[in-house]
């Protein structure tokens, strides 16, 4: 894959997935795309370090994840409130008829700790094996399993206990309203 056109094609093909994975780290589209952008640069210049025959997407996701970690460390030094990385990014596209249910799910996802959301995305959405996900996240397979389980359970509780009614009673809805202002 050291051949430029071939590498470039593979890279372009992976962009939609990188963008989706990047949303685990920020629901703000522009910010998530910034992560992808920096990942593309890093991947481009370190393409010789990709081992042919291994999972290209996993390689890219590992870089993307490192980009995120580096950025949030920087932010933590600059911003006194590290949580603002997430709270500020709580912007959900305007609700459209028929999409409300998906938005609610999205909102529930946002309430998960980032490590759980990330694990859930890798396993449940992107379809990586537990082993691959563990490698991407640099942790044990058991850790990934437990993060995924906790994420599923929390989502299950959030979505199950949610009853039709005044949405303002839902803590996350309040967060959303606040973030719109």
């Amino acid at each position: 894959m050291s051949d430029n056109p071939e590498f470039e094609d593979a890279l372009v093909a992976a962009i939609p997935h990188m963008r989706a994975f990047a949303r685990s780290f920020s629901s703000d589209v522009a910010r998530a795309d910034d992560l992808v952008q920096e990942t593309l640069v890093k991947a481009w210049y370190s393409r010789d370090s990709f081992a042919p025959g291994t999972n290209f997407r996993a390689w890219l996701f590992t870089i993307l994840r490192n980009v995120f970690i580096t950025q949030s460390r920087k932010l933590k030094r600059e911003v006194s409130d590290p949580d603002s990385i997430y709270t500020n990014s709580l912007s959900v596209p305007p609700e459209q008829e028929g999409h409300i249910e998906l938005n609610e799910f999205y909102a529930a996802l946002e309430l998960l700790p980032v490590d759980q959301r990330e694990a859930l995305m890798l396993i449940g959405a992107e379809g990586f094996s537990y082993e691959e996900a563990a490698e991407i996240c640099g942790c044990a397979v058991g850790t990934i399993k437990s993060r995924v389980n906790r994420a599923r359970n929390r989502l299950g509780t959030m979505l199950d206990t949610k009853r039709p009614g005044p949405d303002a009673s839902h803590p996350h809805q309040r967060a959303l309203v606040r973030s719109r202002g």
């Binding site: 997935h17 963008r19 995305m121 995924v148 989502l155 199950d160």
Partner: protein
């Protein structure tokens, strides 16, 4: 669509006590719904067109390396 998290073979097989008293598995229906919504959410982003700025970036990276070469691709 492969199922994630292979279920335990059988509860009688070398299961520890902690395994036996583990909380009951989440409702299968709820779990299925979560999986479906998760993939839906993810796929929605995957299906979005690639932002031009990302493609432009790749072009720029390419140009930087092939400086003297005439561009035959846009």
């Amino acid at each position: 669509m492969n199922t994630v998290g292979t279920p335990k073979m059988s509860a009688t097989e070398n299961e520890t006590a902690s395994e036996a008293i583990a909380p009951p598995a989440m409702d299968v229906v709820v779990q299925g719904k979560i999986g479906q919504k998760l993939r839906e959410t993810y796929q929605q982003v995957v299906n979005e067109p690639i932002p031009p700025r990302l493609l432009a970036l790749l072009d720029e990276l390419k140009k930087k390396e092939q400086i003297p070469e005439a561009e035959d691709r846009s």
